[in-house]
């Protein structure tokens, strides 16, 4: 049951991403990409300091009980900066619709690969589900392009 809540969180995240990136690009059109990125992070940092100060009591970082994780986990923080420049560059070279399709397919395939490395087993339902997702994405792309 608890997992259903996390599934709903993932659905909500998807809605939120589109609203956030739409607002972001509207601001970007007015002030340019770099100014926009700087403002985005200024506000994101201010908001995260706010929630950190209020809600993080008892978290491993606050009580000095950080769990060991592989060092590459910390590179996760660099990724949004890399993808910001990468996506801006790639979008100029590609039609938006095809850009979205390739990005989405790469996202889902990478997820399957990551889960494979975590579980070390080939999970057929997951692969079937991912395959249906990819067919759906491709079909959607064809309908939009028609």
């Amino acid at each position: 049951m608890e997992n259903i809540i996390y599934l709903l969180l993932a659905f909500a995240a998807g809605i939120n991403i589109i609203i956030s990136t739409s607002i972001n690009s509207a601001l970007g059109k007015r002030i340019g990409l770099l100014n926009n990125a700087f403002i985005f992070y200024t506000i994101a940092l201010a908001s995260s300091i706010f929630v950190f100060l209020i809600f993080s009591t008892g978290e491993p970082l606050r009580i000095g009980n950080i769990q060991k994780v592989p060092y590459y986990v910390y590179f996760g923080a660099l990724i949004p900066i890399v993808t910001l420049f990468l996506s801006t560059y790639a979008m100029q070279k590609f039609s938006v619709v095809n850009y979205v399709l390739i990005t989405y397919i790469a996202e889902i395939l990478t997820a399957v690969i990551i889960d494979y490395f975590i579980s070390k087993t080939i999970q057929l339902p997951k692969i079937t589900g991912a395959a249906l997702m990819i067919i759906g994405l491709y079909m959607d792309n064809k309908i939009i392009n028609e």
Partner: protein
């Protein structure tokens, strides 16, 4: 070459979700959000002021709601990483993709947030159904 960059971009987006999920496990969710945005802010700030020697533009004429994306961004990061931590990266990413596509369709249909208006094609419901069938298979098996 350009196709490769787009693939890399997509892969990195998922890797960030998976890495952030582990970071949450390591330091806690609110602490992770703070660390992620602090690093992002320092990097972009360095690039902005030191590397590009940019100056802040005037922001007086800009509708205030456009500044919300930074705050919404931290919600996305937290929800996506929490979901990936508990239900696995594939289901989390698949679920996010489905609502991203649908929300983008709705936003474009009405031209919200100054997006170019594009009518929603009802035929797309077929492809959405296929995507949800994929998610359902994964969910029934896992959850």
């Amino acid at each position: 070459m350009n196709v490769f960059l787009v693939i890399l971009n997509g892969s990195l987006l998922t890797m960030a979700v998976a890495a952030n999920a582990l970071l949450i496990k390591s330091v806690g969710k609110f602490s992770a959000i703070f660390i992620l945005n602090l690093v992002g802010f320092l990097l972009i700030g360095f690039y902005f002021f030191v590397f590009k020697k940019s100056k802040m533009v005037s922001l007086s004429d800009i509708p205030k709601y456009l500044f919300l994306s930074g705050a919404l961004g931290i919600i996305s990061t937290m929800l996506s990483s929490l979901a990936a931590l508990h239900i696995g990266t594939t289901i989390a990413v698949a679920a996010m993709l489905s609502t991203r596509i649908i929300t983008a369709g709705v936003v474009d249909n009405y031209g919200f947030f100054e997006r170019e208006r594009r009518k929603f094609l009802p035929k797309r419901l077929m492809s959405f159904a296929l995507m949800f069938a994929g998610i359902l298979i994964m969910v029934l098996w896992k959850i």
